[in-house]
Subunit: 602 residues, 2 copies
């Protein structure tokens, strides 16, 4: 089990050379940190990924969580994971010091989570969700709520969850029906049903704290009537003991992958004895939840990146060792076979995987840097700028790794041939595990509508303009370097294409209405994704070229050269795909919106 699932060297190159993590320490908010502490955290994270997460990667896939006597039984090491994540300060890493947190940049947290997700995605979900749920309470909950629930969550003793989805309301949150009735004592009586709740119950913790959406009696219809509640499985009494709170698991779903974490269906208040605590103001629940949701979407992108990275490493390792065939044109069959990594088509599949995994990682870190700058900044205008950059990039950072990760892990299988399809190698598990990511925390369809229908047009296109300003900085650098001018030109053309398509779609919105406007928004998102990742690859290549030109440590030479080659690969093989998308997006028919449902009758 000593296989390599991620490159620490690449991660450091990304953090320090591409995205200049250390520059954040100039900000007052992060000023207690320095490169040394970051290095220590990375080393500790890598050790934890190797020693705690990776050894049970396969076991957690093999033994499905099952419901036993009202509790979901999970791998015994989940308790260990939660305790180490709590005691080691991983769950509270990004919380302000006033909550006993590490007040670390989310960039470094994202980097360690990338390692955990590469090592064992299912295992990494438990503390990750807990952190997000606790953050929601500290951000919007009363001091009493914080005192009651947060410490045990940050310690890893209690699990946190996001409880949004209901059987009749997945993507359509307006249709939630879980109800909350004011009990008059500052608490609410909750009743309803939730499905697909990740880590919604398990025996690796002593309690589960659901951050749950519900509607208070008489609330307005739709999303404007949604409130947020803390609904624990066991309610803490005044004396510190726990009492069952009528939150029962009615089902554990059996899934294709991501099998180490239970996805549960919950029956809430079936016996009329479920108490919930309101977080913040009534009817503002969705707004609060979206703080967690945006973080969760970046987490999904990061996890997909981690899985794609692990699959890439596994197929790379195989391709280096597996002899098969000879160079084309080599007719001398007495010569030994060569490792398949020397075949052009295998290199193409590896370059694709590298391009997806490292391009995605770069974008996710970029988003977290904006998030950290938003947090650290004291200037409202700066704060808004970084917030908008995060907003516009989140649907891409969620979707590109998730969707391209499917193809990337599929290529990992393909590199191994028949062996890749067998359980003796890990790539088939990566292929199954990653498939959840285009679904949860907002499907790709939802992300497409979010990007084109909200983010690109918000504040008269301000977020889009800020995004272009950011790319401009990279373009100026690239245009000053002769070997990258070609790619700068291609990226400028890509941006112009997106602008042209966007203008066309705005016209459609004005003249044909929302159905026609958004019908192809998934294609728009895909097109936008290529340009965004191209930008990140150009940035990486420029920083790598800096390293090469500066004659830095010889040990970095291959990595730097690999970055420059992969950047070229991305511009030569992937960016051209925008043209097919553009042709479709510029058309003036609304085939999918207009096709009658009867056309599927056969």
């Amino acid at each position: 089990m000593a296989a390599k699932f991620a490159s620490e060297k690449n991660l450091k190159f990304m953090l320090y050379e591409v995205h200049d993590l250390v520059s954040l320490t100039k900000q007052e908010y992060f000023s207690m940190h320095n490169k040394k502490t970051f290095d220590m955290i990375l080393s500790a994270g890598m050790k934890m990924a190797k020693d705690l997460y990776y050894p049970i990667f396969k076991e957690m896939d093999e033994v499905h969580p099952e419901l036993e006597n009202g509790t979901v039984k999970v791998h015994p090491n989940v308790r260990k994971i939660m305790r180490e994540a709590g005691e080691g300060g991983w769950i509270s890493a990004c919380f302000p010091t006033k909550f006993d947190g590490g007040q670390l940049p989310t960039m470094i947290n994202c980097a360690t989570h990338f390692l955990f997700g590469s090592a064992n995605y299912s295992g990494s979900v438990y503390p990750g969700l807990t952190s997000g749920a606790a953050m929601l309470i500290t951000s919007f909950g009363s001091q009493k709520l914080i005192d009651t629930f947060v410490p045990n969550m940050l310690e890893g003793l209690w699990q946190g969850t996001m409880a949004l989805t209901e059987p009749q309301a997945g993507s359509s949150l307006s249709d939630l029906t879980t109800t909350a009735v004011d009990k008059g004592d500052g608490t609410y009586s909750i009743k309803g049903q939730k499905v697909f709740i990740s880590a919604g119950d398990h025996d690796g913790v002593d309690n589960v704290v659901h951050l749950m959406l519900a509607k208070i009696e008489g609330a307005p219809l739709g999303v404007k009537g949604i409130s947020l509640f803390v609904v624990p499985k066991y309610r803490p009494l005044a004396d510190g003991t726990l009492e069952y709170n009528d939150v029962a698991v009615s089902q554990v779903f059996h899934k294709m992958g991501y099998r180490g974490a239970p996805i549960t269906e919950l029956a809430i208040g079936d016996k009329g004895d479920c108490v919930g605590w309101l977080v913040g103001q009534p009817h503002h629940g969705l707004k609060y939840m979206f703080q967690m949701m945006n973080g969760a979407r970046l987490d999904v992108g990061n996890a997909a990146t981690g899985i794609a990275s692990a699959a890439y490493q596994a197929s790379l390792d195989y391709a280096r060792q597996r002899p098969q065939g000879r160079k084309l044109g080599q007719k001398d069959l007495t010569k030994p076979q060569i490792p398949i990594i020397e075949h052009a088509d295998v290199k193409r599949m590896l370059l694709f995987q590298k391009a997806v995994a490292e391009g995605s990682l770069s974008l996710i870190l970029q988003c977290h840097k904006y998030e950290d700058l938003e947090t650290a900044s004291t200037d409202p205008e700066e704060k808004e700028k970084y917030n908008l950059l995060c907003e516009i990039l989140t649907p891409i950072a969620k979707t590109f790794p998730s969707e391209m990760g499917i193809q990337s892990t599929s290529y990992a299988i393909q590199c191994l041939g028949g062996y890749g399809y067998c359980q003796d190698f890990p790539v088939e598990q990566y292929y199954r595990d990653i498939r959840i990511h285009p679904i949860h925390e907002g499907t790709t369809g939802i992300q497409g509508m979010d990007l084109l229908g909200r983010k690109v047009i918000m504040q008269n296109g301000k977020a889009f303009q800020l995004f272009k300003d950011e790319m401009e900085k990279t373009l100026v650098m690239a245009e000053a370097a002769p070997e990258f001018q070609e790619y700068a030109k291609a990226l400028r053309a890509a941006i112009a294409d997106i602008e042209e398509v966007t203008a066309h779609k705005m016209q459609v919105a004005a003249t044909k209405g929302p159905e026609a406007f958004l019908a192809d928004s998934v294609l728009y998102l895909e097109m936008f994704g290529y340009a965004t990742i191209a930008w990140q690859w150009l940035l990486q290549a420029l920083m790598a070229q800096n390293g090469l030109d500066g004659g830095k440590a010889k040990t970095m030479k291959d990595l730097y050269e690999g970055k420059v080659i992969t950047c070229k690969y991305f511009f030569k093989y992937e960016v051209p795909k925008m043209q097919g998308l553009k042709i479709r997006l510029m058309e003036d028919d609304y085939l999918t919106a207009e096709a009658p449902v009867s056309c599927f009758n056969d």
Copy 2:
């Protein structure tokens, strides 16, 4: 278990209206058949798919075949499948009457296999392989070999296999090391190891007959030294009893999908007591095997098509029933939610699946029609023409359904959201099952090299020219119909693009050598695939329009309209993707061929 996995109505439209199956009966060779017998076969096939294959589709996935006391234990119904396939004449359907076969067109056999593969791919493999292996013996084996082995195979009592792959020789058949030593009595002593042998051993039959590649002592190096042998698990003695032939199963692979059929590793002649019978001439084995291999490649394409079709039907069924959300712009939340099939993005995902499944089916039937015309024709020139058409289309008919089927089944999951990822619905199994197809019977990489490196250039481009001539017939029809002229124009442009790219690649071959020539052959194959399927969609739409214009039965109206809409979808959404591929293919760098292996060091 009454779910719909395939549309019989669509299949009949394809067979009778698009590809005019009945016209084959004008050929002497097929003259004993008529539409009525074809209809009966289709009905019987559908019944068998529903009653025999589909009910155990899920069970065969859940219980993995395991090695027990030297035999692989499979689902108990496998024996039933083999017996019914034998007794019902399904295994021998396309064999000439002189072998007691049905002498049916492969088109109708392909249609019933499509149904079996849609219902339960793993189950359909056992008789399918047996048929192919027996065909190889009847085509090239001696009368004695035929008499000894074929009757029991056609009866479904003995399993047939293709035994090519060895641990050190998958795609590289030159490196086979299984040996054959002449025993002087007309038989050979066989020794070696084979891996990934589908249905290589199981308890659903009384014997297993391997069609095995091996090298006779002193044979030339490489593929020119490969011979073909019949190597049974039990050798039939003169008195009709069976004696163990030293073919042992050393391993059963556990796979991600396609779990109902055992893939085995075989130890042949470990005790020095394995007898093999030479088929045909020494050293001609690969040529013989390729008769079976080409058929097997079409079978893979057909099976992938079947799985994609079943996944499409499952997601269509769900999309019709699942309410979620409202039309965009519908603000009245008191209105009920609408079925998701009414959302444009869901229709887009369904149209994609329909386009892939039905476009692929059309191409596979087209290939089988050429095969049947080759068989039936008595004119050597005609025979060669149809053979060449089959040759050039086989890599596409194998790869397009296999590769696009991955995305298609992925969309099936996406249509179901979280439920699609769970084992309560069949789509996750389809997604796992289909993933084998770009791997076995020649990977996608091999198919790409086959198309660009052999098929397109064979006989000075004769096959390519014949292919264009065939498309021309469709184009002429389309140009005479005002509503299809736009698509005819697009298809002409697509063909011109392929010609341009092909010319460029020929130039590269001449000036830069084979590595550069074939480096992007997978992309070339993908591009070629879009044009080929576009042709098939145009053909289908034209025939559907004929039906609409002719005012045929009202029950066909929706299907016809669906064909026209899906054709438009394919031209509007898929054909433009050729542009991105073309841009790459026309470039003059050889990035993947030239990238040093060190660029992956990190």
